[in-house]
């Protein structure tokens, strides 16, 4: 393993983190259960990670979870914000990038793909 390369990545990334700082604003969760994986959730998760990285969104956490009980609408993506959770269905790679661009960046949910919106009480 190229340990020197890891050291350089750390130095560069820590410098970025110092510059940008701040806590996570949005969490994006991709359903990676059996039905999600079979429906293409791997590509969805990769697209979300790639789009978040490409846009340099340092206040966004990307994570994954198992079955969400919505097998017919996999792949499922949830966008968690302080006041609401928006659940998207049938999120392919293109839709995943659209959700990051329009919802995560601009705060406008992508209406055609929303399965459910849950209000979060503080």
């Amino acid at each position: 393993m190229k340990l020197e390369e890891l050291r350089k990545i750390r130095e560069r990334a820590e410098a970025e983190l110092r510059l940008r700082g701040g806590a996570a604003r949005v969490k994006v969760v991709v359903g990676m259960g059996t039905s999600g994986i079979a429906a293409g959730a791997r590509q969805t998760l990769r697209a979300v990670l790639d789009e978040v990285a490409r846009r340099g969104l340092k206040d966004v956490i990307v994570t994954q979870t198992g079955e969400k009980g919505l097998a017919a609408q996999e792949p499922i993506v949830e966008v968690h914000e302080p006041t609401r959770v928006t659940v998207y269905g049938e999120v392919d790679e293109t839709a995943a990038r659209q959700i990051v661009a329009e919802h995560v960046v601009n705060g406008r949910p992508v209406a055609g793909r929303v399965v459910e919106v849950r209000e979060v009480r503080g």
């Binding site: 393993m1 190229k2 340990l3 390369e5 890891l6 050291r7 990545i9 750390r10 560069r12 990334a13 820590e14 983190l17 991709v30 990676m32 259960g33 059996t34 994986i37 079979a38 791997r42 998760l45 990769r46 990670l49 790639d50 978040v52 990285a53 490409r54 956490i61 990307v62 994570t63 994954q64 198992g66 079955e67 009980g69």
Partner: protein
């Protein structure tokens, strides 16, 4: 439908995560004419009464699931190639799943994108450490996220440079041990 072996691996990893595992070992070994794949975890484990039923497609340990297809599908895939699938409860806690397939059997699914599948899963599972061990008759190659995290400090595995590093490193490991499609 689960189309490649990387998808099966992802499904096994997801089972381990659901069982609350904090350490997951993924193994791919090409030995002679066979390919063995396995996932071992330190999660909650499968209760003894459930063990004989985990390969039954109409059984699941998930409370809300109607059926649990991941393990039965893997067993079916392995058996179609003349191999087998074994699910064990580890005495020290957790579960070990092993499947053996005939490498050259026409019904063996392709490996698929192993690096492209495992790396996003590993990177987006905070608090869980992964060991990936790849081997063939000549060599063994290992990646341990614990060692990588130690060297990265507070930099997350989801950092784009780290993701690229992990995928490239894992692909190199697959090449090192001859885990490449040759058909």
């Amino acid at each position: 439908m689960i189309e490649d072996l990387a998808m099966h691996l992802a499904d096994l990893v997801q089972n381990s995560l659901r069982a609350g595992a904090s350490r997951i070992a993924i193994r791919l070994a090409r030995r002679g004419p066979t390919l063995e794949l396995g996932v071992t975890d330190d999660g909650a484990g499968i209760p003894d009464p459930d063990l004989p039923r985990v390969l039954d497609p109409f059984f699941s340990t998930k409370p809300k699931a109607q059926i649990g297809l991941g393990l039965p599908l893997l067993a079916q895939t392995a058996e179609m190639t003349g191999g087998w699938c074994l699910v064990e409860r580890r005495p020290e806690g957790g579960t070990r799943v092993t499947a053996r397939l005939e490498w050259d059997h026409p019904d063996r699914p392709p490996l698929g994108g192993v690096a492209e599948t495992l790396v996003p899963l590993m990177a987006t599972s905070p608090g869980v450490e992964f060991v990936v061990e790849l081997s063939d008759d000549r060599a063994t190659w290992k990646l341990d996220t614990c060692e990588i995290r130690e060297r990265l400090g507070d930099v997350p595995l989801t950092h784009p440079d780290v993701l690229c590093f992990l995928e490239r490193t894992l692909r190199e490991g697959l090449d090192t041990v001859g885990l490449k499609e040759d058909r």
